[in-house]
Symmetry: C3
Subunit: 348 residues, 3 copies
Amino acid sequence: MVSALEISKLLNGELIGNKDTVIRSVSKIDQGHPESLTFLANPKYTNFIYETKASVVLVGKGFKSSVPNHITLIKVDDPYASFCLILDKFFNNKSALAGIEQPSFIAPDATLGKEVYIGAFAYVGSQVQVGDGTLIYPQVYIGSNVKIGKNSIIYPGVKVYNQCIIGDNCIVHAGTVIGSDGFGFAPQKDGSYAKIPQIGNVIIEDDVEIGSNCSIDRATMGSTIIRKGVKLDNLIQVAHNAEVGKNTVIASQTGVSGSTKIGENCVIGGQVGFVGHISIAKGSQIGAQSGIPNSIDTPGQKWIGSPVQEYKNYLRSSIVVKRLPDMDKKLDELEKEVEELKKKLKGE
Amino acid sequence: MVSALEISKLLNGELIGNKDTVIRSVSKIDQGHPESLTFLANPKYTNFIYETKASVVLVGKGFKSSVPNHITLIKVDDPYASFCLILDKFFNNKSALAGIEQPSFIAPDATLGKEVYIGAFAYVGSQVQVGDGTLIYPQVYIGSNVKIGKNSIIYPGVKVYNQCIIGDNCIVHAGTVIGSDGFGFAPQKDGSYAKIPQIGNVIIEDDVEIGSNCSIDRATMGSTIIRKGVKLDNLIQVAHNAEVGKNTVIASQTGVSGSTKIGENCVIGGQVGFVGHISIAKGSQIGAQSGIPNSIDTPGQKWIGSPVQEYKNYLRSSIVVKRLPDMDKKLDELEKEVEELKKKLKGE
Amino acid sequence: MVSALEISKLLNGELIGNKDTVIRSVSKIDQGHPESLTFLANPKYTNFIYETKASVVLVGKGFKSSVPNHITLIKVDDPYASFCLILDKFFNNKSALAGIEQPSFIAPDATLGKEVYIGAFAYVGSQVQVGDGTLIYPQVYIGSNVKIGKNSIIYPGVKVYNQCIIGDNCIVHAGTVIGSDGFGFAPQKDGSYAKIPQIGNVIIEDDVEIGSNCSIDRATMGSTIIRKGVKLDNLIQVAHNAEVGKNTVIASQTGVSGSTKIGENCVIGGQVGFVGHISIAKGSQIGAQSGIPNSIDTPGQKWIGSPVQEYKNYLRSSIVVKRLPDMDKKLDELEKEVEELKKKLKGE
């Protein structure tokens, strides 16, 4: 429970209306309910401010219209960012997890920092290091020699193979596997395959969030690397020796093949596939379901399609593709007309 | 063990042959073995009835041919549905699970119904409610405040984050994650991303089956909703605030992006991708590997392709695409001929 | 720690340089560090041999150049295979796992072979048989009546449903689910679906490796079969009653639909989709992101695209697709020119 005045002060905002209005929850503006806080960021939602049952609405500094009496406005620079801040401060339903639940398995030579949580049925292997404030949820597996930094959250059922490294302030969602063997096999003369030992590891730098049920394979030798600030959605594949650049975001079900390097600040859609051993220039934006057979060298461009093309070309091509049956028909007609013309010319 | 007569009575069928024939297992008609029950539903399998070693065959009411002496026929309205009924009644190899295995973790304030099974290493959090007859297999994680209805089956290793709701008669297969954070980040000026708190939940209504290793994200605010009777295959992604309509079925590896609403009674193939914030009309049928960039407004149509097109157009286009090299050649030839004609005309 | 001489003897190689050079680790030639072993297999890496800091380099028998003094060469038939052999023998960082960790759950009627490892929080159900030397990592679930052969490795969190069979020398990576129900439902008149009981199992033959977070469904009746020597990457879907032929390799995120049979020695890229009830000829090579709507009958061919085409046709078509906007323009121009010609002819 928090008052409109407290929120306004915290956000350094300008309050218009009843400063004593009490807030007990948050809502979307089109689903607002009494005693809730909401926000107006997208102009196309402006009309909802006259209908919403929310009690306090965060709006931009430029908002001028008058609103129903039951609503208290707070004007701020960035309504959405401000809303997120309040959300995180007052309405984050994370329970305070602490201590070591039983039964859990912690190797005698593992090192745990201060205020660490280890959930029941979690397994912490030999020589593991876990930093201060990190939460290891139930049923997590941490293989031997793994290092995890400070204030990271490892959700239930995550599996981290031995030797892997996870930084500070990371979040790894349930079911994700970090450090499984790379897909490396040497074909034999009899048609079978011999396993190539996978003795590298995975390094996940600080501030990374990885969704649920992802697979990040360890390197054959060296490291598969997820750089600082990367955000991966669910069900993503990152193969051995791949690297995902700083602050790059990748949507669900995308696959990055072996040894491919994706640059910084890229934005990559869902269900995209990258072949192995290529490089993607920094700032590339790649549309959903694209297939990337070659390196992308020019930074900051938009791409889409399988095989991928520049976005502009793709738009032109895809329009023409839809007209293909018409083109085909036109071509046949033209052929006949030319034939006619030839006959006429001969006839003369 | 059950006799042909018992089966016939149960199915209200018409028995032709030896009513005392004993059945100890079930089989496919092309793999039939003695003392097994099989069925003939698809006419293209009719020939197998003269070769099968099965002892009892369920056939349609209209089946007229004579069959080898060792076979007992039972005529029923729907041979396949009848077969499934017998399968479920007599040959379902589920063991009777009951009680609370040790060690398991059950919060003191969790509420368990009657005849609930809790497997070893399962974690049942604070304030959790589990309905009568529900099975929680080993290594399942149920976060705080989760509600699960009656007679549901939660297979090994499923992870359900806090606040989520699962209905009655649901089945969730191993490795599936329900309620992981939605993929929501606000870009910052320095190129990094700030996490947007994900404080909603997931609601799964009654009679839903979800395959293995799926990821169903919680809503940012409000709920991600899987409606009554939905069937999801394996490795499916459902993003934050999405909704899947009543009795819709979705095949493996499909992804539904944030806030997209799929209507009732849709049939969706595998590896399909839906962008965010669109609506799909009820009764839509969408082919495998399709990409859906926009809302589909007309109900009950067939669609396929990436970007998706109406099925009829797609068929026409895809035929033409294969002829593209020929079209290209023809176009070049026509160009030359027209050039010739122009020369001739000028020359006159 | 091992000497150059020992390595050379083991490989039956020819040593050139200091036989007493000591090796403590392995490296890639372009990242070589002192006291490490590396190899030169790909000619395009030849230049690195003059710069590498590695101490011992495995090269082919035909290697003739002189190298810096600090490098000891060992000439062998196949440098990469030899390297893998040494890797596996001396530098494989697998810890020696043995015994039964506590707490674990082992049904009284389960049978464990010699030198089996059962990790903490693993669940071994009723009537399970585990062969000699097999490792069951923590948090694995083995349902009742499952059989696992000798010297197999089941990584953390793998779930094997009841009745399934896994052979000798298999590796199954973390999070993979074997034997979840096939996706089988019978449509009912009211638009809902009735579950078809899935009473078959999964059979995994010897020498199979399966990546992390895969889903291999049990058969409706009979068996879903993964033949000897198959290698599956991560996040792969294999549906009920499918079969993957001997020594076939499949890359990440590919889906095989129900009852489809893939032949022996196929090589299949990532994100490929196969519809149900088709057969793929042995030795087929299928490119990434392909969609396979029909059986492939000719063995040993290369295929790609969605819908799939022969590789040669695809190359031709995809070149033309890029030129489509130009073709379209050309077609319009030709049409005008023919119109002009017709007018001229009429005018005469």
